[in-house]
């Protein structure tokens, strides 16, 4: 029985060869271990942010102030947004599965710069610590404990962020550091995908998840520096009053919004593209059928990244922009829907006449087709200038992006966690529990956010800690939905943790998948992945009568089919 990458001593380290298992993890440069550590840290933060959200929902359950006052509520949604966006969802799938699975999928032994990968992980941790210090920055005023966490929302809009007395600067610094980590991850993955593909694997033989990671890495590279410098300018403004975003000093706050969204809009595609990649892995594996329109999916990832870079202005329809610019941005935004639509049709077409296996990864993927369709199509409605004037900054847009981000990105992250759980741990989770958890999540998200579309359409503004009595019913339905969702999340993570400890052992290639990460001699794989690097002269999703067409001798990695 050969060893797996999880066994003690089975790792390369950035510094030296430590004996202790703890230091082997802290100093590891193995992409799989680094991915696991990212996941562990991120989900801790994820639950902190979920808890904040539940707190806000509890406040909103009844009309009138009960639990939180207005200022604390402002800090709560800022904390929720900053953690969810900067600590969890932006690094999210690339840092976890980009690290764990991408090198395996292209037959590489690690990423191109393993030490840089290790450094990036710790830079990310450093960014998280800075974010936490801003959270625990408090003072005692007149005997009362006052928390000074930023209250600006995760967007830090000037001029309010420049005038507020809360601790915006550390939050900005944290976002800057996390951005640097994101850039370095992008550089690492781009070089890895360009240089370390197994012999014979050209770009159109790569699995679609790798395409998603590739497109994402370009966005990380091109967009993140813009927000980085914007945050630096905001810090300079706040400390030294250079006036760059302050209208009372000749500056232009709308410039902040432009610079901010030049990054932050592509950032939503940065979140969704690797998630779509996971979908493109799961759908063919559980339909036992070659994916429909491989090239269109691959190229639509690239074009979403390209078009997504020039649509940021749709966040500024009510901020003051010329009508011509609004029309152009609105038009460009519609264009993003086209490659996204292509992917959806390709996935559905793959299902057609497939041998569909309804295991939990597939359930999550199919559920996401519904929730992301709702999130995506409502996005088109607010890309129209006219309707956006009515719906901007209402619960409608809140519901839209939660359907798209939670119902799209996070759901697919969960789908990927179920799909690759046997690969990472070598164990099987409890399938029945996983299905119950999925249905709780799926029902929860719809009960939680669908009423918000209606409330928002009727005029319920976002980020308010209180509301008119006629909106109470929507908030109460949403509150119940939140409880169902949280129950589903807890059940799912209980399932993961208990199964990793004492789940049954997973058989080899349990899903009958075709991509290279499953073609390892052992489950979980050994330290340097495949026993030998295979020669790739096949397409990633070849099935014959519902069985994977390509078979390997795992000792020599020669094809035997």
């Amino acid at each position: 029985m050969s060893k797996s990458y999880l066994d003690a001593g089975e790792t390369h380290c950035a510094i030296g060869h430590p004996k202790s298992v703890f230091w082997q993890w802290m100093l590891t440069v193995d992409h799989k271990r680094i991915g696991i550590m990212y996941a562990a840290v991120m989900f801790v933060f994820f639950f902190v942010a979920v808890f904040t959200a539940v707190l806000m929902r509890a406040e909103l359950f009844y009309h009138g102030p009960q639990i939180l006052d207005g200022d604390t509520f402002n800090q709560a949604f800022t904390l929720h947004g900053v953690i969810m966006i900067f600590l969890f969802i932006i690094p999210g799938i690339p840092a976890i599965f980009g690290n764990i699975v991408m090198p395996l999928m292209i037959g590489a032994k690690d990423v191109s710069f393993p030490r840089l990968n290790w450094f990036t992980f710790w830079l990310y941790i450093f960014g998280c610590i800075v974010a936490l210090t801003s959270l625990f920055n408090f003072s005692i005023t007149e005997g009362e404990l006052v928390f000074n966490f930023a209250d600006t929302g995760w967007t830090f809009y000037a001029p309010y962020s420049l005038n507020t007395g809360t601790n915006v600067v550390t939050t900005l610094v944290a976002a800057f550091i996390l951005g640097m980590a994101s850039i370095l991850t992008g550089v690492n993955f781009l070089v890895t995908i360009h240089r370390l593909r197994a012999p014979g694997m050209d770009f159109f033989k790569m699995p679609l998840f790798v395409w998603g990671i590739y497109a994402t890495a370009w966005i990380q590279l091109l967009a993140t520096p813009v927000v980085g410098i914007t945050l630096v300018l905001a810090i300079m403004e706040k400390y030294f009053g250079i006036g760059i975003f302050d209208p009372s000093r000749g500056g232009d706050p709308v410039l902040f919004q432009h610079l901010f969204w030049i990054y932050s809009h592509p950032a939503v595609y940065l979140m969704i593209l690797p998630a779509f990649g996971i979908m493109s892995e799961i759908i063919p594996a559980f339909s036992r059928r070659e994916i429909f329109g491989y090239r269109t999916i691959a190229l639509s990832s690239a074009s979403i990244a390209g078009i997504g870079y020039i649509v940021w202005g749709h966040h500024l329809f009510t901020s003051g922009m010329s009508d011509l610019a609004k029309t152009i941005f609105s038009f460009l935004t519609f264009f993003v829907a086209i490659p996204t639509g292509i992917k959806f049709y390709d996935w559905v077409a793959t299902l057609y006449k497939g041998k569909i296996v309804l295991k939990s990864p597939m359930l999550w993927a199919l559920g996401t087709i519904i929730t992301f369709a709702i999130g995506g199509l409502t996005g088109v409605t607010i890309a129209m200038v006219g309707s956006d004037i009515h719906l901007q900054d209402t619960y409608y847009s809140v519901a839209h992006f939660h359907y798209a981000i939670l119902g799209g990105v996070v759901f697919l992250l969960f789908a990927g966690m179920h799909y690759w759980f046997p690969l990472v741990t070598g164990k099987f989770y409890n399938e029945a529990t996983a299905k119950v958890a999925f249905y709780l999540n799926f029902i929860g998200i719809n009960v939680l956010w669908f009423p918000m579309f209606i409330a928002g359409y009727l005029g319920m503004p976002r980020r308010y800690f209180d509301y008119l009595p006629e909106f109470e019913i929507y908030h109460q339905v949403a509150g119940i939905g939140a409880l169902i969702l949280v129950a589903g999340l807890l059940l799912m993570f209980y399932n993961f943790i208990s199964s990793w400890k004492s789940g049954e052992k997973a058989p080899h290639n349990p899903w009958g998948a075709t991509t290279l990460e499953w073609h390892t001699e052992t489950l979980p794989p050994i330290l340097e992945n495949h026993t030998k690097v295979p020669y790739v002269d096949f397409n990633p999703y070849e099935y014959h009568h519902g069985q994977p067409k390509v078979k390997f001798d795992y000792k020599t990695m020669q094809r035997i089919d």
Partner: protein
């Protein structure tokens, strides 16, 4: 990752043809590509600051020209020349390294470091002269709304000037640091005639730092070079 020589693996296809596998070890082209991509992020970062600068130049045209005319073009120009020469010495050092003349390569790196220090020295003279004229981040002249305050446009010009030249100077300091590290690696025999990727990338970095200055110099120092009004009327 030990010191022993890396031997690439061979993958054999179904016709028995052997293909060399590119590993992450000993990947000269990969190292180059990665660093070029990283330099691209630097361009995006400085590029967005230039974008903001250009935008405010159109909004506060006269103030910008006025403020620019008070900068010392001789010192700025001198520094431009210094950086140009340092880029030359850096490049020559790389050529020497590739030719195997380690000693000459080290001399050239030392020369580059000295030029970089001269650049920082001149910058310090400039900044302290500006400080003694009351123009520095945080001083009353650059705080809006006071009796001693400069016009908004000038405050913004100097704010961007200190931010961008400061950030550029920070890159110079980083550059000196990595050049010293490079010397250490050369002495340890880790950078040689055949393994010079680190030298190559640091030379590339230094070129970019110099290139950014080539844009900073005209944008800040030269726009006000015509005369005190820069050829346009202004309101005070």
């Amino acid at each position: 990752m030990g010191g022993h020589e890396y031997v690439p693996e061979i993958a054999t296809d179904r016709n028995g043809v052997e293909h060399e596998v590119q590993g992450w070890q000993d990947d000269f082209f990969g190292g180059k590509l990665g660093f070029w991509l990283f330099m691209l992020t630097e361009v995006m970062m400085f590029g967005s600051m230039f974008l903001a600068l250009t935008y405010y130049f159109t909004l506060h045209h006269a103030d910008f020209i006025n403020a620019s005319s008070s900068l010392n073009r001789y010192l700025g120009g001198f520094n431009t020349v210094i950086l140009l020469i340092s880029a030359l010495t850096m490049g020559l050092g790389l050529l020497e390294m590739r030719a195997g003349n380690v000693k000459k390569a080290k001399l050239m790196i030392w020369a580059t470091i000295i030029f970089a220090v001269i650049f920082l020295g001149v910058k310090a003279v400039e900044w302290s002269a500006e400080y003694s004229h009351g123009i520095f981040l945080g001083l009353p002249a650059l705080q809006g709304g006071g009796a001693e305050s400069l016009p908004f446009g000038e405050i913004m010009f100097f704010g961007l000037y200190f931010t961008m030249t400061g950030l550029h100077g920070f890159h110079i300091i980083i550059g000196i640091g990595i050049m010293l590290w490079l010397l250490k690696r050369i002495n340890a025999g880790k950078v040689t005639k055949d393994h010079y990727i680190l030298h190559w990338n640091i030379a590339l970095y230094w070129d970019l730092v110099h290139l950014i200055w080539v844009f900073v110099f005209p944008y800040f120092y030269m726009i006000g070079a015509g005369d005190i009004t820069g050829g346009v009327g202004h309101g005070h």
